[in-house]
């Protein structure tokens, strides 16, 4: 039934406008519902009432009186920052994936195309090798993520022709260079101490997230997400090609650069907190296209919402299913790959 409706949704956009609008609104509200639901989930069972009281206690402290301190701490200091981080990281990775796919006119790329994740992975590994604190690891990851993309950009400017192709190539080169550097660090790392930490970080996880890592992530993701939201219709024009964009009075190269900078900042911030979480930037944009079509006016908001929802759901599995944490990178791959295969088979629409 749902399948039939959905098929109609994208085939007969003009006829089914109202149904499509409902779906759009539902998708946008989904992450907020999931955030509330996620706060109820966890290995430690806390009643719905106490979760509610704990949340309201920040506004009305009297609400917390009957809630045990342990439950207060768990809801406010453990679950809340983690759930918010998962939503923000998911939104950042998915929306930057859409942006990159639009700019590079290639449905098979995500925001790691220019090496930001590889650079961040190297930065984090280096910080862990130096015995750094969580803050140092995040700082290094963020910094080296930006550095990798800057290197790719500067490298591409050395050539005058076909900047996008050269930029892509430079991104891949810089990405593999930092990948090799990370392997080198793993090679020299102490197998007892540093290596497990590096491996776990590279697989991604939100185990160690506390409030201290949320503000910078939130600011960058919200500002960057808002920017992508605002320029979303221009992405439609960019994905037509540079010649068309110029005809329509745009400066495509400048806009692309701004979007790349914005997406890189968002990805670096996400990776710095959550480690290397694969697949979201690739799978969620496709899922979004199937649900609301390739128009960026809706695709950007939907990918923000779907990315947040997807990572929230995955992280709930990771933290509440088993006593031990399953790395997020493992789960996103396990769930994301079959999903992508399924969607590619069913998807008949254009990109």
């Amino acid at each position: 039934m749902r399948v039939v409706t959905l098929r109609r949704l994208w085939q007969g956009a003009d006829v089914q406008v109202s149904g499509r609008d409902v779906l759009y609104v539902v998708l946008l509200l989904l992450p907020f519902a999931l955030i509330v639901l996620s706060l109820m989930l966890g290995l430690y069972s806390i009643s719905v009432e106490n979760v509610g009281r704990a949340l309201l206690s920040s506004i009305a402290p009297a609400m917390a009186e009957s809630v045990p301190q342990t439950e207060l701490t768990l809801v406010l200091r453990i679950r809340l920052p983690r759930v918010l981080s998962a939503a923000l990281i998911g939104a950042a990775l998915a929306s930057t994936g859409v942006a990159f796919q639009g700019i590079f006119k290639n449905p098979l790329v995500d925001s790691n195309l220019l090496g930001v994740t590889s650079g961040a992975g190297f930065g984090a590994a280096l910080a862990l090798l130096l015995g750094g604190t969580a803050a140092l690891v995040q700082g290094f990851a963020f910094g080296f993520g930006l550095l990798a993309v800057s290197l790719a950009y500067v490298g591409s400017r050395l050539y005058s022709t076909a900047p996008m192709i050269v930029l892509t190539l430079m991104g891949i080169l810089i990405g593999s260079f930092f990948g090799s550097m990370t392997s080198l660090i793993k090679y020299v790392a102490d197998p007892l101490n540093t290596l497990p930490a590096i491996t776990f970080w590279l697989l991604g996880g939100l185990t160690g997230v506390t409030w201290s890592s949320v503000p910078s992530l939130a600011v960058i993701t919200l500002v960057g997400g808002a920017f992508l939201w605002l320029v979303r219709w221009r992405l439609n024009i960019l994905s037509l090609g540079d010649a068309e964009a110029v005809t329509l009075g745009m400066n495509p190269n400048r806009l692309k650069l701004i979007i790349i900078v914005c997406a890189t900042l968002m990805t670096a911030a996400a990776v710095a907190v959550g480690g290397v979480i694969g697949w979201i930037g690739l799978v969620i944009p496709h899922a979004g296209r199937i649900l609301v079509g390739p128009d960026h006016k809706r695709l950007i908001p939907v990918s923000l919402a779907l990315g947040a929802s997807f990572l929230l759901a995955i992280d709930n599995l990771s933290r509440a299913l088993l006593p031990t944490e399953v790395p997020l990178g493992v789960l996103t791959g396990l769930v994301g790959v079959p999903l992508l295969i399924l969607l590619l088979r069913r998807n008949q629409t254009g990109w």
Partner: protein, 437 residues
Amino acid sequence: MKWNYRLVMLVLLGLLILNGNVGLIAAQDALTIQADEDLQPAVAALYKAFFNAEPGFVAADGDLVATTDRASLPDDFQGVPPHFLPDAFFIAQSERASAFIDFAVSPDGQQALIDAGFLPASVTITDQAGNSVVIPQPVRRVITPYSIATYLVYGVGAADRLVAGGYLGARDPIGAARMEAIDPRFPQLSGYVMNQREINIEEIANLQPDVIFTSARSAWLDTVAELDIPIVLFQGESPELLKQSMQIAGQVFGPNAAARAAAWSAYYDRIFSQVMDVTDDLEADERPRLLMVGTEALRVISGDMYQTDIIAAAGGQSVSADLTGSWNDVNLEQVVLWNPDVIVIVPYGSVTPATLVDSPEWQVVAAVQNGRVYKMPSWVAPWDTPVPDSVLGIIWLAQTLFPDRVSLDCAAEAMTFYKTFYDYDLPSDEIAAVCGS
């Protein structure tokens, strides 16, 4: 012609000096030996190999006593007497005997006894992966890519036969300095890329080891097997398996090593039973619920690990005993669910009690509220891992959990332990600080 004459004179002179010297050594160092009747042929074989002369056996007041009777040891004797045959050892009565004793327990001494038929030319052992391994004797060169096995070699007193190895706990400057004080060859021995994952097979071939000690989980076993070097696999993740590890290491290096392995087992059993005497009759609710965390605050031990056993021996119960495999990453919610009474952080890694105590998130855990968060001490080899030194980890843990009941003293036992099994005198003030006493 004159040149020839000079040359001949020179050679003759040289021979004269050499001959005189040999005679001098033999005359000065000829030892008088008191030996049980049935040990005399073996002692004679050793003596002949070392001095190229027949020994003079005496009934009393020899420089050296060869015996199987432990009662003839001086009352204040500590450690393991040098064994040249299974159950037969030397007691030095004068300083002059030491070179001969060193020779007797060295590979050359073993070779002399093998040539004379007193020791077998090869031993067959069953390693901890269940493989039967034939090892020609004596073993002169051993490599230990599995860094836990390195300490087994030290424990049985065969460190002089190490040519390369991994060293657990000696990566940081403090550990490295301590290890170098124990064994001056440490910088050279540890200077290879060699662990369970990585090994350079050409380098191994170059090192020409007689035997390789590693773990069954080494990634390169098939490649290295091509070199036709005996490989002994270890897996010591329980007290019984650790004792077996030591026993195997002892068998590989001959009678003296075997005697030291047996002595270590006896020491381990004695400490174990002394601790168990205190902790055995504890009811389940008297046993502190203990969480042992690793190199990250949220990385905890599993029930399959050796650490779980030493926690149980020391009278605690590991809250994460239901987990399997190796280290497990958990989240704080799970820790709160366990709500441990005590948290112990392993000796290695950057996590300290302050990491947890200063964190607002950890305040809900009972151990943090009660201020019972500890970092396990260690000297070089981490005391929580299945190395000979872990006996000290049991002592420290028992002392920490039951300070009123356990009479063992970590620092004093550590002094004895390192003297006996590493032949090293620990700096007493430093070990006292390490043990926290």
